[in-house]
Symmetry: C2
Subunit: 290 residues, 2 copies
């Protein structure tokens, strides 16, 4: 489907919002890009970098004549932003978001944008975000990356098609899930690993011999903790929003660790090797298939 | 210190042993390299790759006239190998090892090589090992990587100097610690992360929806779990050998996870953000200093 937009509003011009703007511009499907956000410094930087054409601090002015809005702020701010947008949203304007959790964003849509629900199509781009801010934005961030749509029963079919086409124009591969399934899957493969990495680094950094420990940490530790360098506020919001699914995953993992702890206590090398072999085979099979 | 060896015996010609052989040869400090090991296939492969000059299955023949022996097998095999070597080790022969744990290797030295203890200088090269086998060996594996020596009170000063010089010839940066300190530090920054990564992948791979979970796992998961692709037997041996220090680290981490779990249950975004911010700052400060 060919798609083009006259006026696209990017709310939150960091890594994700800035990259969406850059990708739409590179695909030549957005004529005029407007940035909105709480940080004037980020907006000015995005303007200077050419990611957007115009900075707006007023929702009425920003939304006037808009075809498409992307909400790309930490999920904890989504409800407040939707409430601010609601009085000014025109009937034709499509909305999508880039939130890493979906049930909470959709709750906020029902609460604040109920009348506009036919045209708000929730999305989650699966794109790395351990760097943040407009300077980290790239027109190729979504190239060949997965974007999961979690359409609502109330969404108009043409709205879904056009939002999908906007993400496809960014180079994304499109997938579709229910919001509940989405939140469970990403609790397991994304939110829990982030929590575990933050926790390990926090534990070590608080030690009296932290400097010595970090001195001998090597490439395995570097990769294992890369996601502990992620944006604290973004991950706070994700963990709070998806805490139900995340707690279920954490508890499953704690049960696994209790089992590993018992094997260590017993010095049960046979069972440890079996577990490591299964994990190693599964991980390498997955990594080689990517 | 300039060093050169007429005959070097490599026991275990996998990633580490093969790379040690290749590095010594490239530095032109080893004239003749002999491979010993339990896998005839690996020995033949190492010979075909030119990592070693000679394959030996008999310790008496291998050790005759040897200047230097490297033990580079999983730490669980060290004691058996030392017992087999003991009757044939000549008085002048230096020995070092590449075990990731030191207290257990040193126990085995006292048990099996007591009479030779002046010339066995334990070492641990901090070099990545998620690939294994002679084909993964490289003359540059130890270039600018840390090697930790844990010399024994009984070591002869010239033995320490010459073993250090062998590792320096491989390009390594040399450090020195007590065996106990070594095992505690690496339990924290290496052994625990491996255990955690193996555990996470094992937990997910056993799920009914494992295929779906892996499908949506992205680059953060890839890096977090890279070390779960490591050699199962090697990591079994490390975990069993260092289980005392590893259990202490696991328990500290479980306390951290219990705290994170409480914050999630309470939905305490403020404390979560504080913890994530401290972890993120510590991780990025460390990564940028490397």
């Amino acid at each position: 489907m060919n798609v083009s937009f006259e006026r696209v509003v990017i709310a939150g011009v960091g890594l994700i919002g800035g990259s969406f703007a850059a990708a739409l511009r590179q695909a030549a499907v957005a004529r005029h890009l407007v940035g909105v956000g709480r940080s004037r410094a980020s907006l000015d930087e995005a303007l200077a970098l050419g990611l957007i054409d115009e900075v707006q601090t007023d929702w009425a002015a920003a939304l006037k004549g808009a075809d498409l809005v992307l909400l790309a702020m930490p999920v904890g701010q989504m409800a407040t932003v939707m409430a601010a947008m609601a009085p000014h949203l025109e009937a034709q304007t499509l909305v999508t978001d880039a939130g890493s959790t979906k049930a909470d964003v959709i709750d906020a849509i029902y609460t604040h944008l109920g009348v506009h629900i036919a045209r708000f199509v929730p999305a989650h781009p699966i794109a790395g975000a351990e760097k943040s801010g407009p300077a980290a934005a790239s027109a190729t961030l979504f190239q060949d990356r997965k974007v999961v749509l979690t359409p609502l029963p109330e969404n108009a079919p043409d709205a879904i098609d056009r939002v999908r086409a906007a993400w496809v124009a960014c180079g994304a591969q499109m997938f579709q899930m229910s919001p509940q399934e989405h939140d469970r899957v990403f609790a397991a493969v994304s939110h829990l690993p982030h929590l575990l990495a933050f926790g390990l680094v926090h534990d070590l950094a608080a030690r009296a011999n932290a400097e010595q420990l970090f001195k001998y940490a090597a490439s395995g530790f570097r990769d294992f903790t890369r996601i502990a360098g992620s944006h604290p506020e973004m991950w706070r919001d994700i963990c709070v929003a998806n805490r139900q699914a995340l707690l279920a995953e954490l508890d499953a993992y704690l049960a696994q660790l209790a089992w590993l702890r018992a094997l260590l206590l017993q010095g049960d090398g046979q069972e440890l090797e079996k577990l490591f072999s299964e994990a190693s085979a599964a991980r390498n099979k997955w990594a080689n298939s990517q």
